[in-house]
Structures are given as structure tokens and as C-alpha cells.
Amino acid sequence: MIASSAPPRRPSIWAIGGRLSRLQYWSFAALGLALPLLLWTLLSSSGWVDPVFLPGPLQVLQRLGHWALEEDLLGDTWISVWRVFGGFILSAVIALPLGLLIGAFRPIEALLEPLTDFIRYMPAVAFIPLVMLWLGINESAKIAIIWIGTFFQMVLMVAENVRLVPLAQVEAAQTMGATRGEIVKLVLLQSAKPAILDTLRITMGWAWTYLVVAELVAANSGLGYAILKAQRYLKTDTIFAGIVLIGLIGLLMDQAFRWLHRRAFPYLHARG
């Protein structure tokens, strides 16, 4: 057999920018999830670590079951989801038009962007005393904390999404007689939409990370509150259960956003 007749070898999966089949991808993904779980199981069952500090996966699972059956897991989850969505949607409703305007018009950019940049570096946690003074300790205070944590980042990211619209798309519309309003509505917004949805997906993640902070404010329910309460009584299994649950909900949200992206923007996912 001559060498040249040998079938070409598939490029290695370790090549830079190399490709994985679907099966290979999910195998690696499963490994990435299973390995830490295995390590956790081994470490907690080895007896090296006090179970008070590191409960095993089984113990956390039991705790979750108990939380679901004997206590109000569903209620805690529901109120937390409500708070996160409240803060997130309130952010989005203001940040989307504002970001669009900042990205489209230089004077508005100059007016608002430095200010936003300034505020976004302020720690959301530090606003808790102020928020309690201004809004009290009810639900609006918790939503406000999540809003403070997400809004300023979201505005800047949406503005950047709009700025990245290719100039040729805008100028083509101008030479077809489009007015300023038409360009904003029919070109900038349409062109930036997929990137804006990605911005929402990413900021949704941040909204969840502010949940525990928000539930520092005189809460008596919610996943973040459960974690904080468990700290007081050294119930590490509850802390673990809460963290894992928030992670799972976040993963679910992320996948939902990705699904929406594929559904809403078929032109990006179509094959040539």
C-alpha cells in the first residue's frame, strides 16, 4: 500500500480551534460535571474533613428533600425567582431604551455614560442602608438592590451593542432616504437585537448573584435568606443545597435564553 492512498486522518480534537462531535462534546461536559462531584464525594466520605464544614452530596440531597417536603422549598424558590425577575425586568425596561439612545446619539452618550460608569463601580451592597432608609424593608427594597446591581451594567452593555452595528448598515439606510427615527427603529434596534439578548442573558446571571445580597434586607423567605439563616446555625448542608439550587435555576435560565436566541434569530443560525 502506498502512503498517499491512506485516508486523510481526522484533525485532532486538541488542535487549536479543533472540532468536537456532539457525542464528544457531551462526554466532556458530563466529565466536567462528574469529576468535581466525585472529588466532593471522596473528600466528604474520607473523614479528613468535618462534615459540619463539608457535608457530602448525599447529605445535601437529603436536606433538599427535607426542605421540599417538610419545609417550603417551592415557596422560597418562587419568592426568590419573583424578586430576581422583578429587579431584572425593571432594569431591562429602562436600560433597553436608554442604552439604545446612548448608542445612537453622541450627546446622550456624553450626558449619561460617564455618570453610569461612575455609579456602576459603587458596590450594590453598600446601598443596603440607603435603600432601607428610602424604601423600607418590604419587597421593593429587595428588588431595588437587584436593580442597582444589574441596571448600570446593562445600560452600558446595550449601548455598546448598539454602537457595534456596522456603520455601512446605517449609511445604506440614509442613502435610501431613512429618517433618524427609522434608522433607530429599523436598523440599529434590529441589527443589535441578537447582541442585546445576549446582554440580557449575561445580566440575568448577575441578577441571581445579587439575590443573596438583596435577601440580607429583612427577608423571612427566599433561597438567599435560607442560606443566610443556615450560616447562623452552621447548617452547611442547607447552604450547599441553596447554592446548588441557585446554580441549577441559573443554568436553566441560561439555556432558555439560548433557546430563545435560536428561535428569534434563525438568520444567525442558518447554514450557508
Binding site: 455601512a168 445604506a172 439606510a173 432616504g177 438568520y267
Partner: protein, 283 residues
């Protein structure tokens, strides 16, 4: 009647100064040019000669600093549907199908309530006609990203023609295409020019392209951008690829290239060539 002699585009003593933060930079100076109705004019020159700036001023995307610019007798004050432009790339709307990209200018009017149902029907007919003119009937429902670069530029041309602009402005529209696609595009745009009788102003840095397409070639020179010479192309109106190999064509190309090189003063490039020759001589 004066309309018989009125040029489509009239440019007089036009100048452009870019107000940079450091120092004002003169980009164009003393441009005089008349473009007749239905004429195909190409602008060619070394980089920095202001040919694209001149085209963008015609489009209204840049403002001139001095002089006069009239289109159909009206001063140009900003971009408008009478001066559609085809860009080098990235100007199609990826979220719209090919046919909806072509109909974009009609959609603007429809949104303003300026269209009757008869207009809409006529527009559909026009869009279909343009689609077959560019030979993409089968791709009406395709997304732009599913098309090759050459096909995308064909869609961009059809979209620009949709509103029957007085002048079609083209800014190096085939600069990013491979040689074979460019030849196809050359014959396509000449065909479109014959069929649509549109006035076309075409910017390129490719001298061969400028001669093959243009009825007149406007040769520009840099620092500041000026018109060096306006060369009428002595080729028959009906162009053919074989013409590129005739002695007259090659002579004209050599002449224009020499003029561009002389005016551009590319000292560094000349230096490099000299050094490369020296190295080869010693080797």
C-alpha cells in the same frame, strides 16, 4: 431649454477640510466636475487622493467645506433617496431575506403611510424584476449570510436601484471579491447601466476596472485631493472582456497608472523596490 444641458451632477470649486484635533487636514481642493444624465463615470487614484471622500460628499454622508454641489439642480444638503450608495461590504441587513433587503426603501415609505396598494404591487413587480436582473430569483427567501460575497454585492446593488435613484454611487463595491467574481460583476453592472440608464459614479483603485466600466475616468491625485485629469475612454459603448487585451486598452492603462504613480510620490515603495533589486543583483 436649459434642462437639456443641465448636468445630473454639478460640482464647482468643491473643497473639503477635515477638522482634526491637531491641525486642519485638506482632503479635497478645487474639484470641478459635471456628470451628464445617464453617464458612467469612474474615479480612480492612489489611496489618500480623496476619491471616496468625494463620493461620500455626493451621497451627503460628509459635508463639503467650500464650493458648490448640485444634483438635478438642487444643492446637496444631506443623504437622500435620490443618491443611493453601494458600499464595499457589511451593508446588507442580515435579519432580512434577500427580497426584503431589496424592498427596504419601499418599506420605509409604507411605514410612513406614503404607499397605496397599487404602489405596493408595483414595488413587488420592481423587486422581482431587479431580482431576476441580478440573477438571484432562486435566492429570494435566502438570508444574506447564506450567499457568497459576490451574490451579496448583487443584492446590495438591487437594493440601491429599488428606489430609482437619480445617481448610483459605488464605493469600491467589488474590492473584496476574487478576480473571477469581479469580471462577472463588471459585465453585470454594465448591463444594469444599459437597462436602467442610471447615472453611475464608481470609485475604485483598480485602473483596469476604471477603464473597463467608465465612459470617462477621473484620475485624482493626493495631498490635497484634486482632479489631475479627466480621461474619456475611447472604447465602444458595448464593452467586452476581450477589449482588456487590446493595445489601446493597455496603453491607456499604462498611461493612467504612470500618472497615478507620479502624483502619489510613493517614495518608500520606490525605495523598497530599489533595495529588492539590489539584493537580487548581488545574489
Amino acid at each position: 431649454m436649459s434642462t437639456l444641458v443641465q448636468p445630473k451632477v454639478r460640482i464647482r470649486a468643491l473643497g473639503k477640510v477635515f477638522e482634526h484635533s491637531t491641525a486642519p487636514h485638506p482632503a479635497l481642493d478645487g474639484i470641478d466636475l459635471d456628470i451628464a444624465d445617464g453617464e458612467f463615470v469612474t474615479l480612480v487614484g492612489a489611496s489618500g487622493c480623496g476619491k471616496s471622500t468625494l463620493l461620500r460628499i455626493l451621497a451627503g454622508l460628509e459635508h463639503h467645506s467650500s464650493g458648490e454641489l448640485l444634483c438635478d439642480g438642487h444643492p446637496v444638503r444631506g443623504p437622500g433617496a435620490d443618491r443611493a450608495m453601494v458600499f464595499q461590504h457589511y451593508s446588507l441587513y442580515p435579519w432580512l431575506s434577500v427580497i426584503d433587503n431589496i424592498k427596504f426603501s419601499r418599506r420605509l415609505k409604507a411605514n410612513r403611510g406614503e404607499l397605496t396598494s397599487a404602489d405596493v404591487e408595483a414595488a413587488s413587480g420592481r423587486a422581482d424584476a431587479l431580482l431576476s436582473l441580478i440573477g438571484l430569483e432562486k435566492f429570494a427567501r435566502a438570508w444574506p449570510r447564506q450567499l457568497s460575497g459576490g451574490m451579496q454585492q448583487r443584492v446590495a446593488i438591487a437594493r440601491a436601484l429599488m428606489g430609482r435613484p437619480a445617481v448610483l454611487l459605488m464605493d469600491e463595491p467589488f474590492g473584496a471579491l476574487d478576480a473571477q467574481s469581479r469580471e462577472v460583476m463588471h459585465d453585470l453592472i454594465l448591463h444594469i447601466h444599459r437597462v436602467e440608464r442610471t447615472t453611475i459614479v464608481f470609485v475604485t483603485h483598480d485602473v483596469e476596472e476604471a477603464i473597463y466600466l467608465g465612459q470617462r475616468v477621473v484620475v485624482m491625485q493626493p495631498r490635497p485631493g484634486r482632479i489631475q485629469q479627466i480621461v474619456p475612454v475611447p472604447l465602444p459603448a458595448q464593452r467586452h472582456q476581450d477589449m482588456k487585451h487590446t493595445p489601446e486598452f493597455r496603453a491607456l492603462k499604462a498611461e493612467i497608472l504612470a500618472r497615478i504613480k507620479a502624483s502619489a510620490g510613493m517614495e518608500t515603495d520606490a525605495d523598497l523596490l530599489e533595495r529588492l533589486n539590489a539584493v537580487q543583483a548581488t545574489a
